[in-house]
């Protein structure tokens, strides 16, 4: 049984779950209990399915008996049509559900007006008999239009409304009306009468049939407004609620490889288990190669992997990937890897979702690749594709599957929102691949635009494909230039030459400096020598002077002696002429003579 969620925003009336995935989320719990809901829509829009599925779910999950009044089709037709769903309706029709065929056969002659009083009396009896909690009036307009009288039709609708109010059952009325668009505009008043109005529509968009559901009215309760995509699977209808009201993904800290070591390093150690990675890029930028590498790495770890490709067969992909050293075939053989190729244009995006869901159920993968998810946008209706893409990502993440999604971007600039599907906000990691064209070469560049919850390199890397698989190289980013491929190689060579040159230049300079140093040193030595010489000279000059003084004194003394002059005062001083011991006697006389003179 599907749990009934109640909106906490404001007190809501008691509700009963329909059990239709998505619808109970949109209506915050289901239909209003003991009240009447109107399901309207054109032919083939799924009105009967909504009603039947609700009855089946109520009967199976809550053991609630129900009555189905078929105005439009025979009971046999309804049972046969519903046999495609896994409801076991035929068995239920024998136990919990009562089908009343209220379709006037074409043989019946009509003469004058009739009313539903008798039928309602019969239904009351049946309801009391089986204890029905639900009643469906399917296609009531078919019978009422036989009245050919709008006033009478309205009267009968009011009769039904009053009957439902008196009987306190959960009621669903379906009517083939398009909300005032068609001739049956007289049924507009039904919308005013009902507590809840759900409109279904089916239209063609780009040749693909799209089903939509919209809650247009819900008395006394909030609901999610807007049109929502509807898909039909083996369990019946499913409504694509835009997003689950609450995201309950467990955040894993376990890292798994994104494919190869260098990329893991750029991502700070790999991808988080259960995260989603978006790879965008224009065609030919190796999105599939990266995805294939991721898938191969997952298989090599022994993890079950699902590879979904759109508009390209599994075989060509496997062959192409093997040319770059990614070998998937052994893993397909071992059953670890499941390849699925879908043609996007044949069925609607919702149908793809249903198919992928069943694949996920069957294969139970731990890792998954969708290549390219953007192809879904081709499957009719961008809005539907967006919703499907989001739901798909949430679905995969709910299952804890690590998913690699590729998307073809329209432009080179990832900032212009690479994907029409607007999934980049949902993705945890976003890797963008681009071409850098320079001097006749096209090189692939890889950038990590975001990676939630982990360090990641902000640098552009060159993605190189070889027989050994993809690898990443540092790009040459000197002087504000980003160079790749041959240019990078050239620049690197140029760099090497320049480095050598620098070494040589350095050596030269050092040599020159050494020479200069030696020169200065030599000059210093020479100066020192001349200094020494000058000192010696100076010393010699001082001695000469002394000698000259001595000799002149001696000459005076000699002259004095010769002239017999008075002894000088100096000769009287007691220790006057001690300096020249050799002629002390003469000297004493000379001193005395000099002082006197």
């Amino acid at each position: 049984m599907k749990a009934t969620k109640r909106s906490t925003a404001r007190p809501t009336p008691a509700k009963v779950a329909t059990g239709i995935p998505g619808l109970d989320e949109l209506s915050y719990g289901g239909l209003k209990a003991n009240r009447t809901s109107l399901i309207m829509g054109g032919p083939g829009s799924g009105k009967t399915v909504v009603a039947l599925q609700t009855l089946v779910n109520a009967a199976r999950a809550r053991n609630e008996p129900g009555i189905f009044v078929a105005f439009e089709e025979t009971v046999e037709q309804i049972l046969a049509d519903a046999a495609g769903f896994d409801w076991g309706l035929r068995a239920l029709a024998k136990s919990k559900l009562f089908f009343l065929e209220a379709r006037l056969s074409p043989d019946v002659v009509q003469s004058g007006e009739f009313d539903l009083r008798g039928m309602l009396a019969m239904l009351k009896a049946k309801k009391d008999e089986i204890g029905a909690r639900w009643i469906v009036f399917d296609g009531v307009d078919v019978l009422l239009t036989l009245l050919h009288n709008p006033i009478a039709e309205m009267r009968e609708v009011y009769r039904i409304r009053d009957w439902l109010a008196d009987n306190a059952v959960n009621a669903i009325v379906t009517a083939k009306i398009d909300g005032g668009m068609s001739a049956s505009a007289n049924y507009d008043f039904m919308q005013f009468m009902m507590d809840c109005v759900i409109r279904l529509s089916r239209r063609l968009e780009n040749g693909v049939s799209l089903h939509r559901l919209q809650i247009t009215k819900y008395r006394g309760s909030d609901f999610v407004a807007g049109e929502h995509p509807v898909s039909f699977g083996s369990s019946g209808m499913e409504v694509g609620a835009p997003e689950p009201p609450e995201i309950k993904h467990a955040a894993s800290t376990e890292r798994v490889s994104a494919g190869f070591e260098r990329l893991d390093r750029m991502l700070g150690g790999g991808l988080f288990r259960g995260s989603s990675t978006l790879i965008t890029g224009v065609p030919g930028t190796s999105k599939t190669t990266l995805a294939g590498k991721f898938a191969e790495a997952a298989c090599l770890r022994g993890e079950r992997t699902l590879f979904v490709s759109f508009d390209e067969g599994a075989d060509p992909i496997v062959r192409n990937l093997s040319s770059v050293g990614i070998h998937l075939r052994p893993h397909i053989k071992s059953g670890l890897l499941r390849m699925y190729s879908g043609r996007t244009e044949s069925i609607g995006a919702e149908d793809h979702l249903v198919k992928l869901k069943s694949l996920l159920r069957e294969h139970r993968p731990r890792c998954m690749v969708i290549d390219p998810l953007s192809a879904l946008a081709k499957a009719g209706g961008l809005i539907a594709a967006r919703a499907v893409a989001n739901r798909l990502i949430y679905l995969v993440k709910d299952g804890g599957v690590t998913v690699f999604i590729t998307a073809i971007s329209e432009g080179e600039d990832p900032q212009t929102e690479a994907t029409e599907l607007q999934i980049s906000t949902v993705a945890d990691t976003w890797i963008h691949l681009s071409y850098i064209v320079r001097s006749g070469e096209r090189n692939r560049a890889l950038t990590i635009i975001k990676s939630r919850g982990t360090w990641h390199s902000n640098q552009v890397r060159e993605l190189i494909l070889s027989k050994a698989g993809p690898m990443l190289a540092d790009v040459y980013t000197a002087g504000g230039e980003v160079l790749m491929g041959t240019l990078r190689w050239e620049k690197e060579e140029e760099d090497k030459v320049r480095t050598t040159q620098r070494h040589l230049d350095f050596d030269d300079k050092r040599g020159a400096l050494q020479v200069a140093e030696a020169d200065t040193h030599a000059r210093v030595t020479a100066l020192q020598l001349s200094l020494d010489r000058q000192r010696v000279e100076l010393a010699r000059y001082s001695k000469d002077n002394d000698a000259r003084i001595t000799s002149s004194t001696e000459r005076e003394q000699k002259l004095g002696r010769i002239r017999n002059a008075d002894p000088t005062e100096r000769a009287l001083a007691p220790s006057g002429g001690k300096r020249n011991g050799s002629n002390a006697s003469n000297k004493g006389k000379a001193d005395g003579q000099r002082n006197g003179g």
Binding site: E101, V108, S111, G112, F114, G118, M119, M122, K124, A125
Partner: protein, 102 residues
């Protein structure tokens, strides 16, 4: 259940028309149907008919079993083929045609 039986002459050679009329109590359409049918029978069938009037409000299960959908409903059980007419029988011509009276 109201059961109205026409007088049946002992030496009846005329084919008996066996009719069942399902009504919803005294609802306007039901009352009109009874009146219209009575007039038709009186005028065209004389004594050669057998009519049972069943109030669905009273016998809903029986009406269900008989495959009745709306009220009023008239069923001609005999002579064959079985014919069903719905409505208040105000269109005499179509009623006569359906009953095989021309």
């Amino acid at each position: 259940m109201t059961r109205k039986k026409a007088k049946r002459p002992a030496d009846a050679v005329v084919t008996m028309v066996v009719l069942k009329l399902y009504i919803a109590d005294t609802a306007p359409n039901s009352a009109r149907a009874i009146a219209n049918l009575a007039a038709i029978c009186k005028e065209y069938l004389g004594d050669g008919f057998e009519l049972e009037i069943i109030d669905v409000l009273e016998y809903p299960q029986r009406a269900l079993a008989d495959g009745i959908i709306v009220t009023p409903s008239l069923t001609k059980l005999s002579p064959s083929p079985l014919t069903k007419i719905v409505g208040n029988l105000s269109d005499t011509r179509s009623v006569l045609h359906a009953l095989g009276i021309t």
